[in-house]
C-alpha cells in the first residue's frame, strides 16, 4: 500500500466516523468534513506528485477531495434549517468517503464494495427528496438503473476472481480463458456506461435533480466519473480486448450526440447541466475507448471541477439568459467544417483519432468565438483567438505531463474503425448545430424522440391491470 492510499483511506475512515455523528449538528459536521477533505487533497498532491505509479491516482484523489470538500462546505450553509438536514448530511459525508475509497481501492473487492455503497447512498439521498404530490415527477424507477450497473460490476469482479485473477489491481493481468475475460470486460463496460450516465442509460442522472444542489455537485466528485476510474484500474483487462474498447468508444460517441441533443431541448439550468454531463462523460468514454487515456484523465479532472462549480452556482443571475433570441444565423458550409477538417488532417498528419477529434473541436471553438467577436473591438477579436489557442495548448500539453495510467498503442484496424466513429460523430454534431442555428423545424417523429430523450421517463411497456384501492371499513380501521 502506498502512502498516498493510506492517507486517503484514513480520510475516508475519518469521514465515516464524522458521518455517524452528523445528524445532531449537520452544519458543523459538513464543515469539518470539508476541512478533512481539504487536508487530504494537500496530502495527496504532496505524496503522490511525481511518483511513477501513483501519478494519476494522486491527481484524481486530489480532485475528488477538492470537489467533495467544496460540495460539503457549500452544503454546510446551504442545508441549514432544511427538513432533512441531519440524514442528508450523514449520507452526503458517507458518500464523499465512498468516493475516496473508489479512487484508491487496491483490490477489486474493496473497489466493488465502495462502488455499491456509493450507489446505495445516492439512492438513499434521492429518496429523502423523492417527489411527493404536486411538486415533481417520480424518479424512483429511473434511479434503479444504478443498481443494474452495480450488479454488472459485482458480477464482473466475481467472474474475474473465479477465473483466477488476483484480487489486487496490480496482479490483474494474470491471464485466464479469453472468453471469460471478454465476458467480465463486457459486464464491466456496461456498469461503466450506466455509471457515466451514457445515453440511453442517463435517466437516473436526471432523477437526481430532485435532490439538493449540493448532491448534484458531489456526484461530480467521483460518482459519475467512477466509471472512468474503473477503466483506468481495469486497463490491462480492457487493453487486452480492443473490441471491448471500441464498443466503449462507440457507446461514448452515441452519448455525446444524444447528450448534445438533450441539452438543446432543456431550458432549466440543472437539466442543461445534467444533459451536458451526459455529453461530456460520453466524450471522455470515447477518448478512453480510443486509447487516449491521458486525454480522458484530463477531461475527467477538468469536467468534474467545472461541472461541480456550475451546479453550485446554479442559483445565480437569473434573468440573464444566454439563450435569448438574438438572431443566430447559420451557414450550410459550417456543417462541413468539422468533418472536413477531420478528413484533411487525417490525410496530412499522423495524429491519433482522439487527437484529431479534439483539434476539430478547438477549430469549432475558434469559429464560434470569431463569429461572435466579428462585430466587436480588437479586444474581443484577440480574446476570441487567444482563448481557444490557450485552451488547446493546455489540452495537448498537460496529458504529456500527467502520468496517465497506461500508454497504449492500439492495433491498426481498431484505430481505423475508431476514425469512422469519430467522423460520424463530428458529422452528427455539425448537423445538429446547423439545425439549431438555422431554426430548422424538426420532423414530428424526431421531435417526439428527442423530447423523450431530453426528459427521460421510463415508457410503460404494457397496459397494467388496475387494482382498486380497497380501504378497510372505517370502524374497523379505527380499532386496528
Amino acid at each position: 500500500m502506498s502512502s498516498l492510499s493510506i492517507v486517503v483511506n484514513l480520510t475516508a475512515v475519518a469521514l465515516l466516523v464524522l458521518a455517524l455523528r452528523a445528524h445532531r449538528t449537520p452544519s458543523k459536521a459538513l464543515a469539518s468534513g470539508a476541512k478533512l477533505l481539504a487536508a487530504s487533497a494537500v496530502a495527496a498532491v504532496l505524496l503522490g506528485a511525481g511518483t511513477e505509479i501513483a501519478g494519476w491516482l494522486c491527481w484524481v484523489s486530489a480532485l475528488v477531495s477538492v470537489v467533495a470538500g467544496a460540495a460539503l462546505r457549500f452544503a454546510s450553509r446551504h442545508m441549514h434549517g432544511d427538513r432533512h438536514a441531519g440524514p442528508f448530511a450523514r449520507a452526503l459525508i458517507a458518500l464523499a468517503a465512498a468516493n475516496l475509497v473508489i479512487v484508491v481501492a487496491g483490490t477489486t473487492m474493496l473497489f466493488a464494495l465502495a462502488w455499491v455503497a456509493s450507489s446505495l447512498l445516492v439512492l438513499h439521498l434521492c429518496g429523502l427528496y423523492a417527489p411527493r404530490g404536486r411538486t415533481s415527477r417520480p424518479g424512483g424507477d429511473r434511479l434503479r438503473t444504478l443498481l443494474v450497473g452495480d450488479v454488472c460490476l459485482v458480477a464482473a469482479v466475481v467472474v474475474l476472481l473465479g477465473a483466477g485473477h488476483g484480487a489486487d489491481f496490480d496482479r490483474l493481468a494474470a491471464g485466464s480463458a479469453p472468453t471469460v475475460e471478454v465476458f467480465a470486460a463486457g459486464l464491466l463496460v456496461l456498469s461503466v456506461l450506466i455509471r457515466c450516465a451514457a445515453a440511453p442509460w442517463h435517466g437516473w442522472l436526471f432523477a437526481t435533480l430532485n435532490a439538493p444542489t449540493a448532491l448534484s455537485a458531489l456526484l461530480h466528485a467521483g460518482f459519475v466519473n467512477a466509471g472512468a476510474i474503473a477503466c483506468f484500474k481495469f486497463a490491462p483487462l480492457l487493453l487486452a480486448h480492443p473490441w471491448i474498447l471500441l464498443l466503449t468508444a462507440a457507446a461514448g460517441a452515441l452519448a455525446v450526440g444524444l447528450g448534445a441533443v438533450a441539452a438543446m431541448l432543456r431550458v432549466d439550468v440543472k437539466g442543461q447541466l445534467a444533459a451536458s454531463t451526459v455529453n461530456q462523460l460520453g466524450f471522455m468514454l470515447m477518448q478512453l475507448g480510443m486509447g487516449a487515456f491521458g486525454h480522458a484523465l484530463l477531461h475527467l479532472l477538468a469536467h468534474a471541477a467545472y461541472k461541480a462549480l456550475a451546479f453550485l452556482h446554479s442559483g445565480g443571475a437569473p434573468g440573464r439568459r444566454e439563450d435569448r433570441p438574438h438572431g443566430r444565423s447559420a451557414n450550410a458550409w459550417s456543417m462541413l467544417v468539422a468533418p472536413g477538417s477531420f478528413l484533411v488532417l487525417n490525410a496530412l498528419t499522423d495524429l491519433s483519432t482522439a487527437d484529431l477529434i479534439l483539434v476539430c473541436c478547438f477549430i469549432a471553438m475558434l469559429l464560434e468565438g470569431g463569429a461572435q467577436a466579428a462585430a466587436s473591438g480588437w479586444v474581443a477579436r484577440l480574446a476570441a483567438t487567444a482563448v481557444p489557442l490557450a485552451g488547446a495548448a493546455v489540452a495537448f500539453a498537460l496529458p504529456l505531463g500527467l502520468t496517465a495510467p497506461v500508454a497504449t498503442d492500439l492495433p491498426m484496424w481498431v484505430e481505423r474503425l475508431a476514425g469512422h466513429v469519430g467522423l460520424l460523430l463530428l458529422a452528427f454534431l455539425s448537423v445538429a448545430n446547423f439545425a439549431r442555428d438555422a431554426r430548422l423545424q424538426l420532423p414530428s417523429r424526431v421531435y417526439a424522440r428527442a423530447m423523450s430523450l431530453a426528459f427521460p421517463e421510463p415508457a410503460p411497456r404494457r397496459v397494467r391491470r388496475v387494482r382498486p384501492l380497497r380501504a378497510k371499513p372505517s370502524l374497523a380501521r379505527d380499532f386496528t
Binding site: 470538500g69 442559483g315 471553438m365 480574446a383 431554426r439
Partner: protein
Amino acid sequence: MTDHAVPTLESIVARIAGRLPRFFPLDAFVASNPLRGFEDRAFDDALREAADWFGARTHPDLEMCRRLVASEELGAAALRDAIAARAPERSLGLAGRHRTLPDFLLARTLGKLDVDDASGLEAEGYLHSAAERLAQGPAAAGAGPSEGDAADRWQPRRERFVDWLDRHTRRDDALRLDALTIPVLQHAAFAGDRSLAAPAGARGLYAAFRHRLLDDEHFARVAARSGSTLGVLMPEAVETVVAGALGSLGCGADGAEPCLARHAGALVGWSSFLASRDGDGHAALLELLAMRLAAERLLYTEAAVGLGVQANASALVHALAGCEPVRGTSAVRRLAATARWLELPRWALGAADDREIAATLALFDAYDEAWLALRAVEAFENAFRKPLLDALSRHPGETTTTRARAQCVFCIDVRSEPLRAELEQDESLETYGFAGFFGVAVAIAREDGSSAPHCPAIVEPGWAVRSHTGGEGTRSQARRQVSGVAGRSKFDPLAGSAFVEGLGLFAFPAMLRDVFSARGTRRRADGLVEEGALGLEAPDTAAQAAIARGLFELTGLRFPLARLVVLCGHGSTTANNPFASALACGACGGQDGAANARLLARYLNRAEVRALLAQDGYEIPEDVVFVAALHDTTRDTVEILDRAHVPDSHAGDLASLERALAAAGTANRRRRMGSLGTHGDGRSAFRRSRDFSEVRPEWGLARNAALVVGRRWKTRGLDFGGRCFLHSYDYRADGDGKLLDQILSAPMIVAQWINAQYFFATANNEAFGSGSKVTQNVVGGAAVMQGECGDLCLGLPEQSVMRAHGEPYHVPMRLLVAIDAPKEFVAEVLARNAAARRLLDNAWISLAVVDPDARIPFLYQPGGGWQMDHAVTANPIPISSSGAVA
C-alpha cells in the same frame, strides 16, 4: 335552463384568468397577493374558496399556529379572546360534563384536544356502541362531509378526475400528468437561441403536445384497446379537444367551469405565467387547459383499459365505487379525543345522549381547522395592534422648530424603520418615509436593448434612462470578452468539449475562491448618462418640478429645510440567489432605488426646478443640497451616490452625516444578525452578502405587519422592531384629502401585496411560496421550479419566511393601516376610494385612525362604521427619551 345562459369557452377561460395570481419573473420579482383573484370576497370566505380552487390549504396549519403562539409569547387568554369574539359563550355538554364552546375551541387550537392521538383507542370497547349507534342513527349526518355514498362520486367542483383516480387506485396519475405536459410547456415557452425548434405544425402549446404524443406507441396501444385512436382522443382543434374531454368526463354546461378551474388551479404557476404573458387574450391559457385535459384523458383511458371498462368518467366511477377513499378524521377519534379532554370516565360515554354526541361532532365541522387558524391569526393581530395604537395615541406632541442638521427621506420599506430609529437617536437628524421610487417612474435601458422598470408594478414607467457601467478599463473589458467566448462555447456541442478540456481546470481556483472568499453581486446603475432612451421622452423642467413637488406634499418635509436633504433608496447584495430581486426595493419593481434617488436629487438641485417650486410656495434656500444615497439592506451600509455633485461647502455636513449613518448601520446590523441566529458584532452580515451558499442573507420584509401613515414625530422614539412600513404624511397640508387618497391607492396597495405574499408563503409555502431553496431549479431564467419537472413557483422560498423547516419567522398577519388624521376626514377619503374600501370591507386589511385631537384610536368596521379600540395593553411599547424630548 335557457340557451343563452350557457357560457362560452372564452368567457370561462377569461373568468379563470381573473382568479389567477400575477406572475413576475425572477429578475423583477414583485411580492403580490397569490389570492388576488379572491379579494372580492370576505377574507374568511376567500380563503376557503381559494383552498378549493387551488386544491391547497390557504391558512397556516395548527402546528404552525402552536409554534407561533410559543415563539411570539401569545398568552392563552389572548387566543381565547379572539376565539370568543367569534364563537358564542355557550355550554357544551357530554354525559354530564360541561365546558364552554370557546374553551373547547381553544383546546383544539392548542393541541390539548388532539384527534390524532390514538392512544388507548384500541382497548376501549365503549366507543363501539357509541360509534355504531352513530353510524346507523340519524346523527350520522353530522359525522363529516367525507362520509356516505355521495362523497364517493367524483365532483368536478372538488378535484380533478386524476386526483379522484389516484385516491381510488394505486396509480400515480397526477404526477404522470405533469411528466407528460410540463416538458412540452417548458420547451414551447422558453426555447431560445440555444434550443432546437419544434416541428412546423407544433406552433401552439397544445399542438406541440399533440406532436409529442401522436406517435407514442404506448398510448396508441391504449387508444386501440379502448376502441379509439390517438387522433380521436387528441383532435387538432383546441375547442374540439376540450369539448370532447369534458363530454367524456360527463361535465355538462355547469360542470365545465369548475373542471377547467381545478386544472388551472392545480398548475397555477404555468397558468398565471401564460395568463400574465398574454395580457387580455387567453389563447395560451386555453391551450394549456386543452393539453392538460387531453393528457388526463389519455391517463384515465389507460386506467379504464386496465380495468376493462369504458373509457369515460362515469364508467370508471361506477367500477371503482366500492372502494372507499382514505378519510379524514373519523367520528370515533373525535369523540374519543373530546371525551379525553373532558376527563370523562370511560364508561360514561356509553350513556351519553345521541343528540349530545351529534352536536359535539357537528362542532368539529362548524369550527374546522381553517376557522381555528384564522382566529389564531386574529389573536396575533390584536396582540400587535393594541400596543401600537396605544403608543401612537399617547405620544407627546411635537415642539421642534429649529433647523435640522440633515433630513433623510427613506423608502417606506420595513427595513428602513429600524435604521431610521437608530439614526434619530441623534435629535438633530430627521427622517421621512416615502415610496422608494420617489415618484420617479423611470425604466433603465440595458445594453442589450431590454429595459427594467424602476417603479411599482401598478405604475407604467414614463421614460427611460441608459446606464453605463462607466469607465470600463481594458482589463475588465478583456475579462468580459474572455468569459464571453468561454460562455458561448460551453453550450455548443462541438466547442463545448474543447472548452471543458482546455479551460475546465480553471474551475479549481474559482472553486477555492468561492469557498473561501466569495464576492456578492449587486446590480447597480452607475453613470446615468443619457435620458430619453427607448424613444420615451424625458420629463421637461415643469414635469421635473411636478415630481419634486410630490416629495414635499406627500412627506410633509419640514421647513426650514436642513442643509442636506438625503434621498435614500435601497437595494441588497447577495450571491447566487435566484430571489435576489425579492430583497431589492418593491416600490422599484424589484430593482434597487439608486437611479430614482439620483434622478430626483439631480432635479431638485436644478435652479430652474427650484424656481418653479418657489411659485408653489416651496422656497428652497440656496444652501440646501439634495444628495442621493443607497441603503444596502443586507449589509446595513449607506452609500452616498454622486458625491462629486456635493459642493465643497457641504463636505463637513456630509462627513458628519456619514458618521451618523455608519453608526446607525452598525447598531442595526448587530441587532439584525441576532435575529438571523448569529451573534457578535454583526460582521457576519458581510459574509452573508458574499457567500454563494447562503440561503438567508437577510430577512427581507419578513414579520411585516403594519403601515403607519402620519407625521414622523408621532412615531419618533418608538421601537417597532422592523415590522412597520412608515409613510410620512401631514393631514393639515392635505386640504381635500387628495394626498391621502394617493397613499391609499398606491403605497397601501403595494404594502398589502407584500403583506399578503408573506402571509400565504408562510401559511403554505409548498403551494404559494416556492419551497426550499436547496432543491430549486431555475427555468428559462424567469422562474424556479422544484426539482426536475415541477410547476413554476410564484412566491417566496421557504428560507425567506422560516428559521428552519416548520419554524416560522414571519407571523402570518393581515396588514394594519394606522392613519394619523381625524376620523371624519379619513372616512370622507374612503368614501371616494372604492378599491381601498373593498379591501377594508372584505377584511383583507384593517384600518385604525388615531385621531390627533381625541387621541383615541378608532377601528374601521367592515361595512362602514367605527369602533373605539380600547387601548388596554399588557406590555406597552416604551417611548424612548428622544421621542419625549422632541
